[in-house]
Structure formats: C-alpha cells, structure tokens
C-alpha cells in the first residue's frame, strides 16, 4: 500500500520536474534574460579590481552570502564537536 502510493506520488513529482525542464525552461546553453550577469561580467574588473569574476561575485557582489556560508561551516563544526563531546556531567551543585 505504502509502496504503491509512494511510487505513484514519486512518478508524478518526477513527471512535474521533467515536464518543467524539458518543455518549459529555456533551452540549455541559451539563458534568455541575462542582464544582471552581463552587467557583472562587464563591470566586475572595474568595480572590484578582480580578474576572477566568480571570485568577485562570491566575495563582493554576494559577499554576504559567503559570510553566511562561512558561518554555516562554523556552525556545523561547532555542532559536530558539541555532539561528539564525551557525555560527562558536572557534579550537581544544587
């Protein structure tokens, strides 16, 4: 029962995704509006003095995302060390 329902739902989901990417989205290799990216490609060198446009996007135009990304790594490391700590309890003072 669960298997049948799950498979049907999954097929519908995959159908949606495939329909979307085959029929509805722009053809691969021809991104239709690209004004923001063209602006970045044209002006990244002058604005950020950076040859690597991806680096200038990562660290300048969308630098806040990268700060968030670094924070996520920091969070995950802290979390892993927190969860793997040896579970000893301090003596109860109260």
């Amino acid at each position: 029962m669960r298997k049948v329902v799950g498979l049907i739902l999954l097929l519908v989901l995959v159908g949606f995704l495939v329909w979307g990417v085959v029929a509805l989205i722009h053809p691969f290799g021809y991104p239709s509006p690209s004004e923001m990216d063209d602006y970045i490609i044209d002006n990244a060198q002058a604005e950020t003095s950076n040859n690597n446009v991806v680096a200038s996007v990562v660290f300048d135009y969308r630098g806040f995302d990268t700060l968030g990304e670094a924070t996520i790594l920091f969070t995950a490391v802290t979390g892993v060390l927190l969860l793997l700590r040896t579970a000893k309890r301090k003596e109860d003072e109260s």
Partner: protein, 521 residues
C-alpha cells in the same frame, strides 16, 4: 546615533554573528565573561531592533544595499535591476524582529542555569548566538538566496542544539529528524529559487515580484516554496517531526525553535504576498492554506490531549496554535481579489498576526515552565509528577498565566487575538469559526489536565526535598510573562502600532517593490 541607525539593519544581523565568533575565544576566560558577552550582545541587538522599528514607523520601508557606495543605492547607476544583496525591512519584518529579540534574550537568560550542570557550554552559547543571527537574517533579508542561507544557519544551529544533551538517545533521534527535514526543505527552497532565477535572472525579491508572470514553472516553484516552508513550520500532514524534535531539546532552545518556525511562516507569507503578490491566484492558494490550517488546529489539539510527556504535549499545542495563524492569514489571502470582503480580510490578517505575537509570548513561557518541571523532577513524564505547586510557587503562577492566555480566557491576550480571528473569519465562512472555538475548548481542557496532574494534589514523597528553580530561569520566564501582561492591558495600542503596519505591509506589495525599484536617490 544617526549613523548607528543608518547601519541598523546590518548591525542587527552582524552583532550576534560576531559575538558568536568571539564566544569560543572569550568563553575560555570564565563564566562571567561569557554571560556578559551573550547578554550584552543580545541586549544591544534588541535595542537596535526597537530603534529601527520606531524609525520605520516614521519613515517607511528601509533598504540597505550591501557593498554599494551608499546604503540606499539599490541599483547600479543607469540600470534598472539590483545586482547586490539588499536587506529590506518593512513593518512585517521588523514585527518579527521584535518578537525574536525579546524571546532570544529571555531564552539566553533562562539557559544560564537551565544547562548549568552540563558540559560544552561554550559551544552551546556559540550556537545559540548563531541561531539568533540566522533568525534575524531570515526576517530582514530581501534576497531569495540569502533567505535560503540564513534558513540553513538557523536550522543547522537548531539541529545541533536539539541534540545538546547527547547522553540520551532520544535527543539524537529528534535532532536527526529535524536536520533531515530542514535539509530537504532547504533544498526545495533552493530549487524554487533556481527556477525563478532561470526565468527572470535575478534573486532580489522586489525585482522578481515586479517581473513575475505566473507561468507554470512559477506555479511549481510556488508549491515548492509554500510546502517547504510549511513543513518547517509544522503544518499538519507535515508536522510529524515537530513533537519529536521539540520535546527533546533543552527548554530554552525549544522556546527559540518556536520562533524559528514563525520565521519560516514569515517567509511563506513573504513569498505568497510579496513575491507572488501581484499575480497570485489568491482564492486557490488561500483555500489550500485554510484547509491545511484547519487540519493543523484540529489534529494538533486532539493529539495534544492524548500526550503524557509534558514537552510533547506542549509541542502539539504549538502545532494547533500555528493553525490559527495560517487560517487568519489564509482568509486574508483568499479575499485579496474581492474588494467587498477586503476589510474583513485585513481584520483576519491582523488577528492572525496578533496571534503570532501572543503565541510568541506564551508558548515559550509554557515551554520554559515545562523545562522547569524537567529541571526539578528530572523527567518529562506527566504521570510521574504531582503536587509540585507546593514547592514551585513562581513556576505555578507563570504556568497559570500561560494557560489562561493560550486558551483564550479573557482578559488575557489570547482572547483578543482569537476574537479578532473569529469575528472576521465568520463573515468569510462560519465553519472556520466553529472549528476554532471547539479547538479553543479542547485546549483549555487539556491544559487543565496537565495542570492537575503536574501541580495539584498532595505533595509527593519523591519531590519533598527540592527547591524552586534558580533565579535566572525565573527571570527568563518573567520577561515573557511581562510581555503577556503588557499586551493584555493595551491591546488597541499594539494593534495600531505594530499589527496594522505589519498587515498593511503584506497587502501593499507595491510599496515593497518601489522601495527597491523606485527612483534612485
């Protein structure tokens, strides 16, 4: 002061973040320094939030462009699209920001003694601050991908904190379920973002709201966004992880998780009202939200009556209360296209948003009292408790305040928001109101049951020796109870100062677009 206020949107996010990075360094210097850092940074953030809220009520929507030559310069000179990440703060975002500032401060103070006997406290507070930063980021950002990043920060920090008491097996199970759910939800949000980016080549919400066409791909993306955020919120067929994760976390974290779930609700509203605001088929999406919201109310409360674990019981109540907000705002969405009913829609939305504020005050309070019970008895099983009112006077009083408030007993604040929802929703469809009243009755009944089994009765021999919980836990609870009393006394002031601006900010998506896409200053 003026320059501080000009930088306020970013500082609200950056200060908890930097404090979190500093905690491992300063935390080694001892308990005092760590506590001072945590409370100081959170209090300063709360101050900035209030100052910004006041400023926004005077000057309107605030934008902050990261990395531009001026904060207001949202688009490069001579072009009509934003390139950089833009923080955009309107009435709705700052409303959630105020809630988050208060609750996170209370939770931090509460956890000082709640987890005092555990190891790993430095990392606990680091993660707590990171969670605060993630929540603020979700509320203030105006960029879809940035929203995803901060959603992930909040969920990863929350997931690690749920598993904090790692000597118990069930905490790890709850944390794993939470992190799986949030990973999948986050990836679906990212997929939706990618679909929108493919069509309109932008990630800025205001630009997308202006350009959006409501093509079939947009509809698929809307379904992905809506259901992913609804799953993170705990809407009913997707609520199954919710009690598992919430019941095992330390109580202070549970209180904060409630607000992160509200933040996800904010994101869902933002997507429905602002991003798709001009094109959305309000009736269909509104009815999807209303039906799921009714299910949420009913299933949540009936499952809650059944529970025997105190935190699990309260988590199911949290689910049930979230249903009220979905219904209130869903009605507002459903009547968005019909001008005859729009006034009722606005009232329903105001009620739903008012309920968010109330819920954000009393639900963490109730979770904190549940944590106090756990602290005192060492168990979450209600069947093992009894007669605790003899020893825990403060906790009892605060629990009563929370109970009366959540069940909508006048004159407490839960009543004002519920009556606002009932009256306006009745005009839309009377059945919704009837279900709401039944749920309210069941809520009162189940809280009476929990109150009787935990606090009433003769003093049990196994709990004779204990003392009331430490002071910092009581302070944390009293902060939230004070909020409840304040809202109780001045409901009309809260409505006109905070709630109508928030509801109007949702309805008026044109102003949100204009703040970014309008004339360059």
């Amino acid at each position: 002061m003026a320059s501080l206020l000009a930088q306020a949107p970013i500082l609200i996010i950056a200060i908890p973040l930097v404090a979190a990075f500093l905690t491992p360094l300063i935390g080694m210097r001892g308990d005092k320094a760590r506590k001072a850092l945590v409370v100081g940074s959170l209090a300063f953030t709360a101050f900035l939030v209030f100052a910004l809220a006041r400023d926004i009520s005077i000057t309107g929507i605030r934008v902050y462009t990261l990395g531009a030559t001026a904060p207001g310069l949202t688009e490069p000179t001579g072009f009509m699209f934003p390139v950089r990440i833009i923080l955009e703060v309107d009435g709705m975002s700052i409303f959630f920001g105020i809630i988050w500032a208060i609750v996170s401060l209370a939770a931090a103070i509460y956890s000082f003694s709640h987890i005092a006997s555990e190891t790993g406290q430095i990392r606990f507070f680091t993660l707590l601050l990171l969670m605060v930063a993630g929540g603020f980021g979700m509320m203030l950002t105006g960029d879809l991908f940035n929203l995803f990043v901060f959603l992930e920060i909040a969920s990863i920090a929350g997931g690690a904190l749920i598993g904090f008491r790692n000597r118990f097996g069930d905490t790890q199970e709850g944390a794993f379920k939470y992190i799986v759910v949030s990973a999948v939800a986050g990836l679906m949000v990212l997929l939706g973002t990618g679909i929108l980016y493919a069509q309109y080549n932008s990630l800025n919400m205001a630009f997308l709201a202006q350009a959006i066409q409501y093509t079939t791909l947009d509809k698929i993306a809307l379904a992905l966004f809506l259901i992913a955020f609804a799953m993170k919120t705990g809407m009913v067929p997707l609520h199954l992880w919710f009690p598992d994760a919430y019941s095992v976390a330390p109580a202070s974290i549970t209180g904060m998780l409630v607000i992160t779930s509200h933040a996800c609700m904010y994101a869902a509203f933002r997507v429905c009202f602002t991003l798709y605001g001009g094109v959305i088929d309000g009736l269909v999406v509104g009815w999807i939200i209303i039906i799921l919201g009714l299910l949420t109310m009913f299933v949540g409360v009936t499952m809650a009556v059944y529970q025997k674990d105190v935190m699990r019981f309260m988590s199911y109540h949290a689910i049930s209360q979230l249903g009220y907000m979905w219904v209130g705002v869903g009605v507002g969405l459903a009547v968005l296209g019909t001008p005859a009913l729009l006034a009722y829609g606005r009232d329903a939305m105001t009620g739903g948003i008012f309920h968010i504020l109330n819920h954000a005050m009393y639900k963490p309070l109730l979770f904190f009292t549940g944590g106090a019970l756990f602290y005192y008895t060492g168990t979450r099983d209600l069947a093992k408790m009894g007669g605790l009112a003899h020893k825990m006077k403060w906790t009892t009083v605060l629990y009563i305040i929370g109970t009366l408030s959540i069940s909508g007993i006048p004159p407490l604040n839960g009543f004002s928001s519920k009556i606002l929802i009932y009256e306006s929703v009745f005009r839309f469809n009377p059945i919704l109101t009837i279900v709401g009243i039944i749920v309210s009755i069941l809520t009162l009944a189940s809280f009476t049951k929990a109150f009787h089994s935990a606090f009433m009765g003769a003093e049990l021999p196994e709990y004779k020796g204990g003392k009331e919980v430490p002071k910092s836990m009581i302070i944390g609870m009293v902060i939230l109870a004070a909020g409840i009393v304040l809202i109780t006394l001045f409901p009309s002031l809260i409505v006109s100062w905070a709630l109508h601006p928030a509801a109007d900010a949702l309805i008026d998506h044109g102003a949100y677009i204009n703040a970014v896409m309008g004339a360059v200053p």
